[in-house]
Symmetry: none
Subunit: 194 residues, 4 copies
Amino acid sequence: MEKENLSVPSSRKDANRNVHKIMEAAKVVFKEKGTEAKIEEIAEKAGVGVGTIYRRFVNKERLVWAVGMEIIEEIRDKQRIDVDLSVPADQKIRLILDEFLLLHHKYGQLHEMLITLSQDTPFGEEIRHILSDVLQVTIREGQEQGIFRNEDPEILEAFVLHIVNASLIKRLRSQMDVEDIPKTIADFVLKGLS
Amino acid sequence: MEKENLSVPSSRKDANRNVHKIMEAAKVVFKEKGTEAKIEEIAEKAGVGVGTIYRRFVNKERLVWAVGMEIIEEIRDKQRIDVDLSVPADQKIRLILDEFLLLHHKYGQLHEMLITLSQDTPFGEEIRHILSDVLQVTIREGQEQGIFRNEDPEILEAFVLHIVNASLIKRLRSQMDVEDIPKTIADFVLKGLS
Amino acid sequence: MEKENLSVPSSRKDANRNVHKIMEAAKVVFKEKGTEAKIEEIAEKAGVGVGTIYRRFVNKERLVWAVGMEIIEEIRDKQRIDVDLSVPADQKIRLILDEFLLLHHKYGQLHEMLITLSQDTPFGEEIRHILSDVLQVTIREGQEQGIFRNEDPEILEAFVLHIVNASLIKRLRSQMDVEDIPKTIADFVLKGLS
Amino acid sequence: MEKENLSVPSSRKDANRNVHKIMEAAKVVFKEKGTEAKIEEIAEKAGVGVGTIYRRFVNKERLVWAVGMEIIEEIRDKQRIDVDLSVPADQKIRLILDEFLLLHHKYGQLHEMLITLSQDTPFGEEIRHILSDVLQVTIREGQEQGIFRNEDPEILEAFVLHIVNASLIKRLRSQMDVEDIPKTIADFVLKGLS
DNA sequence: TATGAATGAGGCTTCATTCAT
DNA sequence: AATGAATGAAGCCTCATTCAT
């Protein structure tokens, strides 16, 4: 599915500048309040009128999707870099998880939004695919290297993806130093994979 | 915190029958739609007027809590039985996870509700405590038996609890037979613990 | 209009005892909250069920009327005693005002209720008549004694009645000692009459 | 307290036109039904949607305040003109009372609303102050001119203010010609002051 | 007859979406 | 094209009144 289906395209530069402002504002507000965030608040933070949002995004749902997709892509881009390194698969998993955790720190509530999106919407397939891609490649790599067990990579990937979750992190934060969390999670995941 | 804080108590049979009908309807509707469920819909499904719900539950939030607590207790009761068996700790973990998964199958969206509840409400502490109790005992048991590694039991328990999650299960359902899910999850968890 | 029109009559003693309990409770609650008072609160204070109130008083309005009428009659009875004394009319007015103020102290918000009742309901005529009766007699007396001016007694009486008002008293309370209020009001009224 | 606290300000012409329409409609409806008036009815009479009212007035209470304040100010403005005339204090009182009575005729139930407002809300102080201001100045003037007695002006003012009351006027209307009411009230008040 | 649980119309308020400027 | 004011359906909750026990 193309980006054009999410935000209405325009040839004007200022219009596209607005789309960008709206997306940035939406990220900030969705991060704090999740899908409950009000359109008006996003408009205010973006410095545009609500009407402008509706000119660019057919409805609230589409804006949510658009924001979700952008983050997904941000995630993928970072992971791509990790996956191209020449280190053992378990090292890569650690790196990928680190990226994930950074993004969680950055996007808060948005993670939940993505999970919901990936389940309930027509974009689900797309989102799942993007997120899975890099992880599965790495898992297969690990299996070939004999580091990971021979379970279906898709399934292992589902576990990994699921573990890197805002609510788990929140929970762990109350029980350990924040900087230890990535290692702890990676340890658990890698044991699960082995 | 006492149950009386959740539903207004009454000595009358008919009143309590209605409380029961409301709770059952709420479970069904919450299962489908989560906290977004409308009071009117619950009332209709319960076969009572909205006023009846408000007579027994101060507001919607309290009804959510009440339903949550009841499920939590249902979970605990089942787990208690497992934990008293004389089998190795890893066996118990498998059993406990089986129970969990059955309940997830039964309660759907309600799981998300519980997670949210356990984070944001005054009942959180209580809920976390109930859910943790049995698991931690078993984890400690496993550590004494030398089956599980010596990480802080609270942290291990957080992982286990987190993995048994509606969205993971939903995801796995699209990739494997439903009856295989419990074993797959248990395998992953037990590896993570070992 | 007869009392029977207000509370449904009953031959049973316990029923009449309930009417009494309800009326007393209603007075207390109306005093505090005015007509906004909830039936359930009155029932609770009376120690009866709401159903019992509705058995005796067709609806809330009738209960309000009944309470109003009873107070009106209490007022009249006290005034009757004053008016039969053999003192000059201005003395009597002072005494009558004293009674009024005592009742205001006793009944608070109910005074406003009576005012409203006397204007908007079929009982208005009756209430006005009872309240006016004694005052007008005294005013006429004063006019015959040459103490009061010869304005229409009904009109003078309207002024007197109006001045003895909960909100005025409340206001004065913030500016003078409570025990001085009756005299201050009486002074003003008597000047107005002279 | 500033007007901005009552209605949300806006620089747009159409918005302010609506605020005006809402206030006018509210005056009319409050006049008839007092605070019990329904928001929907006001919206309908104003020819706007309910949402429009809520865009400008945080809640119903604020709308009541806003209407109250506007009337209070209308009263004060008229009184200011009277008080600046060079006539004896008793003449001024007559004029001020005339204004009051005109406004009562115009605003009906709203008078009760103002009384309640001046007692129970954060605006009370402000309202009392505005209403008192002019009257007290005139009373003091009369005392200096030897026309009024030397009672505390605040107290005398309380009486005057209290007498000019919707319910008294309503009552008098049933007993005399409407055009005679102002004189009758003024006569009584001035006697009370002398 | 007395009880209090049940009812549901009706009120307040919110917010995604539309539309006039 | 951009704005933000306007809209109104829809949700939560209250409470006078009814009705089953």
